[in-house]
Point group: C2
Amino acid sequence: VNVGLVGAGPGDPGLITVRGLELLRACDVLVHDRLVAPELLDEAPPHAVRVSREGLSQESVNDLLVDYARLRQRVVRLKGGDPFLFGRGGEEALALARAGIPFEVVPGVSALTAVPAAAGIPITHRRLAAQITVVAGRTEHADFDADWHAIADQPGTLVVFMGLARLGEITAALLEAGKDPDTPAAVIARGTRPDQHVVRAPLRSIAQRAERLPPPALLVVGHVVSLSEILDAPRPAAAAHR
Amino acid sequence: VNVGLVGAGPGDPGLITVRGLELLRACDVLVHDRLVAPELLDEAPPHAVRVSREGLSQESVNDLLVDYARLRQRVVRLKGGDPFLFGRGGEEALALARAGIPFEVVPGVSALTAVPAAAGIPITHRRLAAQITVVAGRTEHADFDADWHAIADQPGTLVVFMGLARLGEITAALLEAGKDPDTPAAVIARGTRPDQHVVRAPLRSIAQRAERLPPPALLVVGHVVSLSEILDAPRPAAAAHR
């Protein structure tokens, strides 16, 4: 394997996988997302070349991975969360496959479960939610937007990635489509990190309450949010142990 | 922290988190799901009491965790996948919170991303899927079933957990609701494990093709499945490295 597409997890460095850390500690080249924990970057060997993905186009990242792999370097592409859940890892995997370069995908803990969990919210729960709808609030290409009307009708839990900048627009669309304005909602900013911020409010007011939170943030809408009143009561947060 | 609710990941023992392994190696009592990799059970200290969850009611498991924690034992509840994604971890967390016992939730890599990834399927992909619907094919309580008609209308990728026993019924409902019978689909059984089996077929025939696969299995429906023709071409599978 010349390239590892490795999920770094949601932010907390302890949430990388054992296999991901193993590849990271053995790499020659580390191409990383901007938001990956500094503790993880420090796990790469001292000799490793470190390249931040920031400011590079997706095509440039694809080319970098292919080029370094052809130089017979052990490359790790360290991505926030999971490579295949809004991580554009599929595009990198396709570029490698088309170039005939052996690669391994090491999945990561996604913000999808970990960030709500860090705020005391189980995204599924018996009698409250047996279905989840996951959607990107912002897409990389202007030709697409989610059908918020159809989404509003789905039962269970709604999780919106990358929706912070459009929070007012998204919640207005859900309300207009008939979603109950009293549905419990939460925005969790910088989830699992030491500077995590959580705002809980009914759907009708969550956008106004959460608009000043820093990215990245996850919007969670559904009755499971109310469990956090019990589960997020005073006790040490997971992140506090590290 | 007296109890850790730890996600073991999707099957491959290398996919547990660093933090999860740390708690596992320091526990006095290990209460584990049946399908957790034996390699992980071996990571608990030799003195640790091992209890399989098999055959126990959820209430008994809750009580066990509370009772052992009150004996001042360090308890790890090791659950397949992620504790809060169809893991009933919320019920265990509620029982602990109500008993006043400090606990930590350590999220895990869910089958949701990892199992399709192990078959060369990114569940999101630019221009193919920016939305995911996740649903349980079987629920623990008979009073609920998913609305397959509403689900059939959602764009993006559909992932069905625990649907193997009802594969024919689920795909028939999707087709009846107007889902394109040519939509690419896959069933991945025992994903990320050495005995992983993958069946790919259009929605119209996937149930018939996959009916003899062993549990646990994930059904994936959507155009992203077609990427596996490139991404799952001959190269070492992730699982083969361990």
